[in-house]
Symmetry: C2
Amino acid sequence: MPRGERPTLTERRAEELRAAIARTAMEIFVADGDTSAKVERIAEAAGVSPRTFHRHFPVKEDVVRPLFRATSEAVAAALRDVPDTTDPVEALVVAWTAAMPGGRLSEFDRRFLTLMVTTSEYRLRWQEADQELCEVIAGYLDRRLPAGGHPLHRTLPAYLVVHATRHVFEHWITSGSEEDLAGLLRDALRMVLAGAAVR
Amino acid sequence: MPRGERPTLTERRAEELRAAIARTAMEIFVADGDTSAKVERIAEAAGVSPRTFHRHFPVKEDVVRPLFRATSEAVAAALRDVPDTTDPVEALVVAWTAAMPGGRLSEFDRRFLTLMVTTSEYRLRWQEADQELCEVIAGYLDRRLPAGGHPLHRTLPAYLVVHATRHVFEHWITSGSEEDLAGLLRDALRMVLAGAAVR
DNA sequence: GCCGACATGGCAGAAACTGACATGTGTGAG
DNA sequence: CTCACACATGTCAGTTTCTGCCATGTCGGC
């Protein structure tokens, strides 16, 4: 049994299955206009039994996690690709808008994200994905910002950056996604990092 | 039927019952060292039927809401009492530490809050209570800070203040509650509001 | 003392989960 | 090539959470 690679072949398959089920759930949610679809229905549409669904997603709402994890990873990857000579605020703006071609969302995605923002159980899952992003941002800011003494001075700016982004994004989503997202992000991040730089 | 007062007599009673059930749940959680107690047990200990429990708390985890709402209201009240001549950062520090005598938590409260921080379902309820605080903070900051043009410039600082406080508080709780909470809060709030004042 | 609003309780049932066991499929050793 | 084992899935029964419905009781006003 090969144990060399980090992601086992089995795990890779499980991950793909989870992603497929998540995608199915997303389509059902958007089609319904709400998130009340029963597990039985989602599982059937994805071609698995309810038992298998629950094996991969102990709590029903976990089903959207793969979607958020994917975008989190996209942001992290985009941030890695930005040269260190770029202004930190710009780098972060670029990273967060990289996943959206032209700063535009498809109507499908917009409806889905609106559901996620307006349903507290699902919003929590989004926030948990953001949590993982915090680590990435913290690592980036570590390189680009003067270091503080207390451990909080390392994690707090990253935490604030992520939450500021959330706030901006939620505002942008719920207000119709017509405003200039990059501009809003820039303003917000400048506000946050202005305080961090003072340290 | 008197409809003059805002909180109906009936509603007031319901609120008291909810608070009592919440308190009971808290005691059971702390005694058990985890939050897995069944609804049946909490309801019985509180002297109500499971049916009544669910009438007041549609989702089991909602049971802790009254506890967080109470402290949120305490913070809001403390902030109202601070004279407007006080430095905003100090005012917020005072407001948040007002509920804790000498910045100390009882061992009972510490154990409970540790459970709340480490259990995502319950953490969500805490965050929702914080959400209401955002409004209060936004109102306060409106009076004390220069106003920005975009609506985000009004809500974002409040949002960040609340989240920064959360982050500090969670760090403080999980690291043993031995550090100087007021000092940590002061540093964090200074960082946040430094950026806000720039606007 | 009567009436009506309202909260509670009990019961049946839906939906979300979980443990145990059996089946199928693929992969590596011999 | 075949056997054996690991592992994911499905089925089934059972627990827990949550909901609709109706009967009962209690409290406040007439």
